[in-house]
Symmetry: C2
Subunit: 200 residues, 2 copies
């Protein structure tokens, strides 16, 4: 059984959302599953000196244009949320709380949360909203809501982010296949070739 693909993502990341819409099909074509790994870019940017793309001079305006164009290119529905960026702790904890017991459900809930934010403009930073979305995607809504405030889940998210940084993750989406790192949805063609050939 080959190892799952590690898919790191921040719920505030438009390219992370596009990646989330594409990664399961890629994994499936190559007999892999996806390990959905939420990260917090705000924490990571403290290490790298990075900043949200939309706040960088010149890149900001381009990025807003490119989010929408890249979504059209990939055939993914996308609408820039009215609140952006958001702190991603609540939805990230919901996903983490599901992952160990049911990794496939964690993935479906992550996709549902992303769509709630980038299609339906719901404020998934709100724990009640995040839990309701998780409930509609098949999770236990009350358990999801409780997970947001659960100290053990909070600690698990901190560990998850620290592990990601230790593994070299500095952006979203960030895919690791058998130890090989790929940053950005625009590296997915390389991810596919890597999966198909075992490296190139």
């Amino acid at each position: 059984m080959p190892a799952p693909i590690d898919f790191h993502f921040d719920f505030s990341s438009p390219y992370g959302y596009l990646g989330a819409e594409l990664i399961e099909a890629i994994a499936s074509r190559h007999g892999r599953t996806v390990n959905w790994r939420p990260v917090l870019l705000g924490v990571i940017f403290k290490e790298t000196g990075g900043a949200p793309l939309t706040e960088v001079p010149m890149k900001g305006a381009y990025s807003l244009h490119d989010f929408a164009r890249s979504a059209r290119f990939h055939g993914v529905t996308f609408r820039m949320p009215s609140r952006f960026p958001i702190p991603a702790q609540a939805p990230s904890r919901v996903v983490l709380s599901l992952r160990e017991r049911d990794p496939a459900l964690a993935g479906r809930v992550a996709q549902a949360l992303y769509r709630a934010y980038f299609v339906d403009d719901q404020d998934i930073a709100d724990p009640d909203v995040a839990a309701a979305v998780a409930g509609r995607a098949g999770a236990d809504q009350a358990a999801a809501r409780a997970a947001v405030d659960d100290p053990a889940v909070k600690d698990a998210l901190k560990r998850e982010v620290a592990q990601a940084i230790a593994a070299g993750v500095f952006g979203s989406p960030f895919v690791i296949v058998d130890g090989e790192c790929f940053w950005g949805v625009d590296r997915f063609p390389q991810v596919e070739r890597w999966l198909a050939t075992g490296g190139f």
Copy 2:
């Protein structure tokens, strides 16, 4: 006659080099020519607060790995130069001095300069080296060498960079097709679709 594709590049940019190896075939497939537009990222980064990728924490190590992997992915020969980055004024002026009279020659010389740097590890920042490479690529070597110190060509490069910044160029490669901006060699699939469809 459709407008040429504006291809902005910095001679120190590995992704610019990959783009330079790919852009003519893309243009040709869609009945376009390429306008080779040298820029100086050092000047642009003063506007954007940007920095060379290789100097950014975490991104630096990834980038060095990704340059080589992306080159293999695209079937392009690549070797990280021993001197990096370089000030790109000399080769940029050589290309600019040729462009108005013979844009196709300017493109061939730009590609030859890029290969001298990223395949043969020649220091194209040296005006004599840049002129010799241009000479072997079909330009007048003495005229190329003189262009590096020509005040009119120096001014032309300053104008070129200022125009690029005014057009929104903040990285390399940076392609503009009929007013639509595409940053990065990883947007070339979108450039191709844009050329094929007139926009999407």
